[in-house]
Amino acid sequence: MRTAPDDISDTLAGLAIFADLSRPELERVAHTLEERYFAQDERVLREGLSGSAFYIILEGEAAVMAGGKRVNTLGRGDFFGEISVLLGEAPVADIMAARPLRCLVLPGELLREFLQSNPRVCYRILVAEARKLANATRRGG
């Protein structure tokens, strides 16, 4: 995982949350999001710090850290950061790059407009959130 994909739109097309978008919509989204690379063990999201962002994993693995312990692992197609942005609160956990990590990033301030202008992405995100909630409920949390 050394070089950026030649065409981010192609990469987006392979991710579940963008599966319903047409080619021009994918290109527009690709121009809206910024790509970032994190070295292994680099912090991506910081507990307690304001002004964070929404991340979608393109490649690699991220660890959700709470109280110094790894409580979850995220991989390609997973996303994070949306809860603190939507609630306007600082993140309640750290996210670290467990392996070299490549993400797409949307500054928190742009998330609302992004979701409103891409309702099909919004729906896919809602489904994923529902799944997370169902799993958490099943685990008794």
């Binding site: 070089t3 080619r23 021009p24 690709a30 790509e35 994190f38 070295a39 910081r46 710090l49 301030e109």
Partner: protein
């Protein structure tokens, strides 16, 4: 080409590139006593400013008359273009090169500013020496060049972001790149299609307004203006004229559309586009197509050696100290620093893509290389406890590093058991938060989406970070009683 400095050989550091980034880093390394060779494929200092911007005037201003005297540290906030020597007679050089017609220097004025900096501060460059390849030999890096091989412990590549880059659009190879734009008058009476709606596209459109018969600017996402993004990301006010022409239906067309293909048909082009919102196809017949699609960095074979790249234009991904994020020991300088984005709090970017931002990074980078690789750690002054609060408030009110690199660089003070409170200098905020000293404070400036600019203190107690936002002030003067009280509260039990 006699008496050229730095012949091929073995050096502690080899620095490639003689634009503003390379010049600042070389100067700062020399001040720290780090011996290095500096090589450049060019014939003189200046980097991209030897030929661009195309219409020969910069986007970054220098105000000859400002609230602080030229040559003071505080004045740097108003001068985006001078490099940062310590010798008073070499500071604020840009001002002395400007003819008074604009507070945006012309390209030749900027070039003269950089050449003068190199001359007066004795930055020695081996010009006409092209870096052609790279390899590892045990603990050393080997840089192959047109003059022979250089070996070093630390290579720093400040080779700019000025190599034309085109997206993968069928037929775009037949379009001119921004770099190949002809003199404006040769577009008289012609229909011009510009791919790209960032500053370079709008710069060309501005220059063509009085010549072209029709101007179309197109790219998939909507135009962003700097006055709405409140950053240098977005079309700068100087180039907004074509946009006004568009919204007043004057003839210029600014279009949100993907470019599907470009077809050459004899003397004209057919540009096939698809609107982002409606997916409707629009085809334009034009006389010229120009790809104002940006630039990449000529980083040669570094990706093959393991340098990870990022973004559409494939810049090297970097740590907060501008080291390759995937290949330790390889550093980058100058405008390539834009690919080390830092925290981007509230979405605000750094100014590392411009001289006003990366000149400060260059000083920090030199200090980091000196300390980490050569054990050179300059004396860090003690801050008397009684002056702590006023010092921090003076910094957030006046420090040019903090104003030009908001939420990116910070003033760091550390508690030292033996010496008291020690000034650790200006450091990347991200490195402070993630790996800074156990008991310390970092002061920076931040901006939120409401446009408030306010100081923020980040404290570390036993290695745990906390954020303390201070209130904004209408005049950006934070030396008030309210701010004093807020600083004292934030530092309670830590340094104060």
């Amino acid at each position: 080409m006699t008496d050229r400095p730095h012949p091929p050989g073995d050096y502690p550091v080899v620095l490639v590139g003689s634009g503003p980034g390379g010049l600042q880093i070389s100067y700062s390394l020399s001040r720290l006593g780090v011996k290095h060779a500096m090589i450049s494929a060019d014939e003189n200092a200046g980097g991209m400013f030897r030929k661009w911007p195309f219409f020969q005037r910069l986007l970054s201003w220098t105000k000859p008359y400002a609230p602080f005297a030229q040559g003071t540290r505080e004045y740097e906030r108003y001068d985006w273009n001078s490099l940062l020597p310590e010798e008073k007679e070499c500071r604020a050089l840009m001002c002395s090169m400007m003819d008074g017609t604009s507070y945006y220097p012309s390209r030749p004025e900027m070039e003269r500013n950089l050449v003068a900096f190199a001359d007066r501060t004795h930055v020695a460059v081996r010009y006409g020496c092209r870096w052609t390849g790279t390899r590892r030999d045990g603990e050393r890096w080997v840089l192959e060049t047109s003059d022979g091989e250089y070996r070093c412990q630390v290579p720093i590549f400040a080779v700019g972001v000025a190599e034309p880059w085109r997206p993968q659009i069928p037929g775009i190879e037949d379009a001119a790149h921004y770099a190949q734009t002809r003199p404006a008058e040769t577009y008289a009476g012609r229909r011009v299609f510009i791919v790209g709606k960032e500053n370079s596209g709008f710069e060309l459109a501005t220059g063509f307004l009085q010549w072209a018969k029709q101007i179309v600017l197109a790219s998939p996402s909507p135009t962003k203006l700097s006055i709405t993004t409140r950053s240098l990301v977005g079309v700068r006010a100087r180039y907004v004229q074509p946009y006004e022409d568009h919204v007043l239906a004057g003839g210029v067309l600014v279009l949100d559309a993907s470019i599907e293909r470009i077809e050459r048909t004899g003397k004209t082009f057919l540009v096939h586009t698809r609107r982002a919102e409606t997916a409707a196809e629009l085809v334009f017949e034009v006389d010229d197509v120009i790809a104002a699609t940006g630039f990449t960095s000529p980083i040669n074979d570094l990706p093959k050696l393991g340098v990870a790249t990022v973004g559409r234009n494939k810049l090297p991904a970097q740590t907060p100290f501008w080291e390759s994020a995937s290949l330790p020991g390889v550093y980058f300088g100058g405008t390539i620093h834009q690919a080390s984005p830092g925290l981007r709090k509230h979405g605000m970017p750094s100014n590392s893509g411009g001289v006003n931002g990366h000149r400060y990074n260059g000083r920090v980078l030199a200090r980091q290389v000196a300390k980490k690789h050569f054990g050179i750690d300059p004396e860090r002054p003690v801050v008397p406890r009684a002056e702590l609060v006023s010092y921090l408030l003076h910094e957030v009110t006046n420090a040019p590093e903090l104003w030009h690199q908001k939420s990116y660089l910070a003033r760091v003070l550390v508690r030292d058991e033996k010496r008291g409170i020690v000034d650790d200098g200006i450091l990347p905020l991200q490195s402070f938060l993630d790996s800074g000293p156990a008991d310390a404070v970092a002061a920076t400036l931040e901006e939120n989406t409401d446009g408030d600019i306010y100081p923020v203190l980040y404290t570390r107690r036993g290695g745990v970070s906390a954020e303390h936002d201070l209130p904004p002030h209408p005049l950006h003067d934070f030396r008030t009683r309210d701010h004093e009280r807020a600083v004292v509260a934030a530092l309670e039990g830590l340094l104060a």
